[in-house]
Amino acid sequence: MTAAEQRHEVRLTVNGVPRRAVVPARRLLSDFLRHDLRLTGTHVGCEHGVCGACTVLVDGRAMRSCLQFAVSVDGAEVTTVEGCLRPDGSLGPVQQAFQDCHGLQCGFCTPGFVTTITAYLDDRPDDHPDPNAEEAREAIAGNLCRCTGYQNIVAAVQRAAEIRRADRAEASQ
């Protein structure tokens, strides 16, 4: 069966760049990004939806890339951790916040946190301009980290919100 396995053309816009590859239907979006597009920022921990390391934004919403097939999201816009930068290529607000707050140690979980938090802050902007610690904790409840003990990641959520508020204040001046 493997030799004859049917292949499908998949076109995605990834971090603003149109990309395409021809893959079997069973190619997970996570593997499509890592293996076919060589975007290895997206990490794979558990492959059954539990750890959150593989989280990416699909049409603006945070989702597990290990729990969907690339062919199923053909045509979508995908944002990975590589796309969470500022337009000038410097660290984006969430990435900057992780650095400021020492929110990572080994870094394996970090791409999933960065994408999840980016979506959380962007999602309903009026809802989450200034999350308190409890809200920040809930925002990251679907992501596992084996190193940090989470305290610094909670702080990073709040710091990222602070950076964004400053960005906005500057933009509106």
Partner: protein, 289 residues
């Protein structure tokens, strides 16, 4: 940890989907949000010959308020149902329960109808459908049938949806009278499957006394369990009813099993305590609505 090969079908319309499902028969498996199916495929606990991906059926991506209740189409995501303000106003229990279904990231992709068809005895929406006495509309190319919640959940991970069938929508009826609802559960982490979860529906009379009290449970049996607890609290004032008695009544009738997370006795204890908590919250909710 990679799925076995499968033939992939991605119909663009409901008619086309029904056609493909009819042709494939027992070989075909519906792929909705994939938040339960893909883990099973990844772990090769399931290896269907063909998948019918329904994610392009935009016609079914609706959350619609009808006179008698809320109808949710097969491709509406948990997040769509949870966030819909008109739905929350009409039937708050949907959002009350949905915020306990997995994490936002899972709810962005997983569908509410899919979670009903999946029939996990720990799935919140199974108990919500059962508590409200809702139903699922099941379609084939040849016919449409409506199956009531009481007949829909047949066993753990087994629903009335058979080979070649598409669950097109679910109907969640609005409770009658001055009714309030609540969802309470205990899980190891917020968003994990509950060790025990309780949905409550309390109806008050004109004097704000308890007219009816019902509860539905997850993670205590092979299918969602609904209990009428009116006998324990009938006629009592909404703010001073003996909710502990309702909890004791419910727990006495439940026969939960032990697993790695909890003993049977602990689950029963949780059922009693959470029943009281959920019923009290639902009564307060009824009074405020």
């Amino acid at each position: 940890m990679k799925p076995a090969p499968f033939a992939y079908h991605r119909p663009d319309s409901v008619d086309e989907a029904l056609q493909v499902l009819a042709e494939l028969g027992a070989d075909g498996k519906v792929l909705a949000g994939g938040q339960s199916l893909v883990p099973l495929l990844n772990m090769r606990l399931a290896a269907p010959t063909a998948l019918v991906d329904i994610n392009r059926l935009d016609q079914l991506a609706y959350v619609r308020i009808e006179e008698s209740g809320v109808r949710v189409g097969a491709t509406a995501r948990h997040a769509d149902v949870e966030r819909d303000e008109a739905t929350y106003d009409a039937l708050p229990l949907l959002r009350q329960a949905l915020t306990h279904v997995a994490h936002p990231t899972i709810r962005n992709r997983g569908t509410t109808v899919g979670s009903l068809v999946h029939a996990d005895p720990s799935g919140e929406m199974t108990a919500v459908l059962a508590l409200l006495g809702g139903s699922v509309e099941i379609r084939t190319a040849a016919a449409t049938r409506t199956v009531a919640a009481a007949d829909f959940f047949l066993g753990p991970l087994e629903s009335a949806v058979g080979a070649g069938e598409l669950a097109a929508s679910a109907h969640f009826p609005l409770p009658e009278g001055n009714a309030g609802t609540a969802w309470v559960e205990v899980a190891r982490r917020h968003g994990d499957y509950a060790i025990c979860g309780v949905g409550a529906l309390v109806t008050l009379d004109d004097d704000l006394r308890v007219a009816a009290a019902r509860a539905a449970y997850i993670s205590v049996d092979a299918t969602p369990v609904v209990r009428d607890l009116t006998d324990a609290v009938a006629g009592q004032p909404h703010d001073a009813a003996d909710w502990a008695a309702a909890g004791a009544l419910a727990a006495g009738e439940l026969d939960p099993e032990a697993d790695i997370h909890a003993t049977a006795a602990y689950r029963r204890h949780l059922a009693a305590v959470l029943t009281a908590r959920a019923q009290r919250a639902a009564a307060t909710h009824a009074e405020q609505r």
